[in-house]
């Protein structure tokens, strides 16, 4: 379970209040809980008193340091309590605006892909980075075709990328956020030119640079599973050609 900083600060107070709460006054003597023998009974029965203010000038500093340590412990505990592993898988769909070889603004086509996400910030043992740093492994595909009946070409671009991201999360549950992403990989292009019945295949690989921004959400579906979705504007520099993806994705996080 995730805890907000405010909640993390309130939690020790609430727990402390529970510890300090008096036994139920309505109970009679028969209903009284069985007393376990306690070596410190004398101390237990003694009225609670604030410890005398020390004359040591570093005592406050020590106390504050202890409190901070306690808060850190709670944060770490919060991470340990999260049943999710920080993985997600999504199906990507949208419009791929291919750089136009014919000199138009773009050649729009349908883009389809898969993406797997790992919130690697979880292993850094640092609560602020816990859900803000993650990494995508992504495959996308977009195709186009043009030509006449006699001579025509069909092309497919496959984009393989590894892209870390930083997300600015917001909301009490840190369920939503906006992110920026930069990564790289390679693009595999395949084209088949048909001249009548004759086919001429052309294949090649180009370096790929990926960058963009988006909105990411992970509303919880159950204790261990969340819905994972994104809306994104992503740019792919395929060799010297720039393709732009505008679309979204949906999947599950666990």
């Amino acid at each position: 379970m995730r805890t907000s900083p405010l909640y993390a600060r309130l939690l020790p107070l609430l727990l402390g209040a529970l510890v300090l709460s008096t036994p139920a006054l309505a109970q009679d003597e028969d209903d009284a809980p069985l007393a376990y023998p306690d070596d410190d009974e004398e101390v237990e029965d003694a009225p609670r008193k604030l410890p005398p203010r020390s004359s040591d000038p570093t005592a406050d500093h020590d106390r504050m340091a202890d409190e901070r340590a306690q808060e850190d412990d709670f944060e770490r505990m919060a991470g340990d309590d999260d049943p999710n592993k920080g993985f997600a898988g999504e199906l990507i769909m949208g419009a791929m605006l291919l750089e136009s070889s014919q000199g138009r603004f773009a050649d729009p086509t349908f883009g389809l892909g898969l993406r797997f996400t790992w919130e690697y910030g979880r292993i850094l043992n640092n609560e602020p980075l816990r859900e803000t740093l993650w990494l995508d492994v992504r495959w996308m595909m977009a195709g186009s075709s043009a030509g006449t009946t006699l001579i025509n070409g069909s092309s497919r671009n496959h984009y393989f990328s590894l892209a870390p991201a930083y997300e600015f999360v917001f909301g009490a549950e840190k369920t939503y956020g906006v992110f920026g992403q930069v990564g790289g990989g390679f693009a595999y292009q395949s084209t088949s030119l048909a001249i009548g019945e004759e086919l001429t295949p052309v294949k090649g690989i180009k370096p790929l640079l990926q960058y963009g921004v988006g909105f990411r959400g992970r509303p919880r579906l159950s204790e261990r599973m969340s819905l994972s979705f994104r809306l994104e504007l992503m740019r792919f520099r395929r060799g010297y050609m720039d393709d732009t993806f505008v679309g979204g994705s949906i999947g599950t996080a666990f």
Partner: protein, 422 residues
Amino acid sequence: MHRTVIAAALLFLAACEPVPQDPVRVRALVLSGNGSYITQEVTLNTLTDIIRMEGDVAKLIGGARIVLDSTDPEQQAASTEEGFANALVQAEGRPVTANWITQDNVLWPADFHTWNLVTAYYNFEKSREYFNTVGNIPLADFGGPATVYYFPDFILKDANPEPIKDNALWFAPTQSFMLAPFDALQRAPLAINSGIMSHEYAHMVFNRKVYGSRRLPPPILEWGAVGASPGANLIKALDEGLADYHGYGVTCKSATGCDSRFFRTSFDDNLSNDRDLAKTDRCVDAFMRDQLNNAALGTFSAQGLEYKLGSILASALYQAGESTGQREVLMRAIISAYSDETANNPGLKQLVTLSQNNQQNFNLTSVAAVFIKHVTDVPLKTALCNELIDHLQIPAASLVGPGLPCPAAAQGGNTCTKLPPP
């Protein structure tokens, strides 16, 4: 540290582009011996920017919008040819981006449009080479790279509000080529057809040489503005016929040899047969002669008569060149006749000037005389005279005789039935 990272990033990005070689080796579509297109490695000698497809011969621009609209106030208000041309271009477009895959130092097009683009450039380069080597036109005379609008929105609004499709053309007002998108034409795209691209390139050469690179050529604009416009009709037909003839000439420089029916890979059999240069029985008939002499340019063109008359001329030239085995000699002579400042041997440009005030002086006889006088080889001159007299229905007496250009041996052929005098 930062500089190192930036330098590395720039190096990475620079490395993404194919490294141009000189000359550039690419794969393009060429016609094979069996009449179908194949992919073949070719060399581009003039291409300087392999991504933008720009070189000494042409620069290819996509996404442009050119609209000719007589009601456009800006076009109406234009006071210069340049101003008029600027008013026509409503969207400049942007350079194309060829999509390459490099294999063994050869650039392979990675999509259909890149195949189309590179083949178009290759065809333009071959056309210029033909006019340079066969036509003896110095490279400097071609000017800078010609603008080629690739798949533009080209609209002749007075005729049709929709963009033109299934066409390739030289458009003098913008001094540019247009390769329109295909729609009904589902055979070989026009950009891939070497003969058709050369036909269009020949229009550019005609404009440069005969019209002096004018965007609004006076023979068309002034002669065509009056009722009967024999001069304007004829010069339009000459432009088309000579373009066919040189389009054929360029095919003769290919590995597969001369192709008199070079339209056939892109158009249907009817059009291909109509424009087949090897057809021997084409003749000016009474209707054609009447329309040529008496119709207004709009009427003449609306019937496509400039193509029909042009094809008759092209076939006559073809027969003369092939029958004597002097094809290239004749082609060179015809090109030299486009413009010639030599005294007593004017070219077409000079004949236009001489006929400026009376377009009837620019007629079949005077034009034939210009061509014939630029041929020095006597057998070729005789053959040319015979073909022109025969197919264009020119009275032999106007070309043969003392002080006239044709040798006495030339009395015309007997393919066409002689028409009575008009």
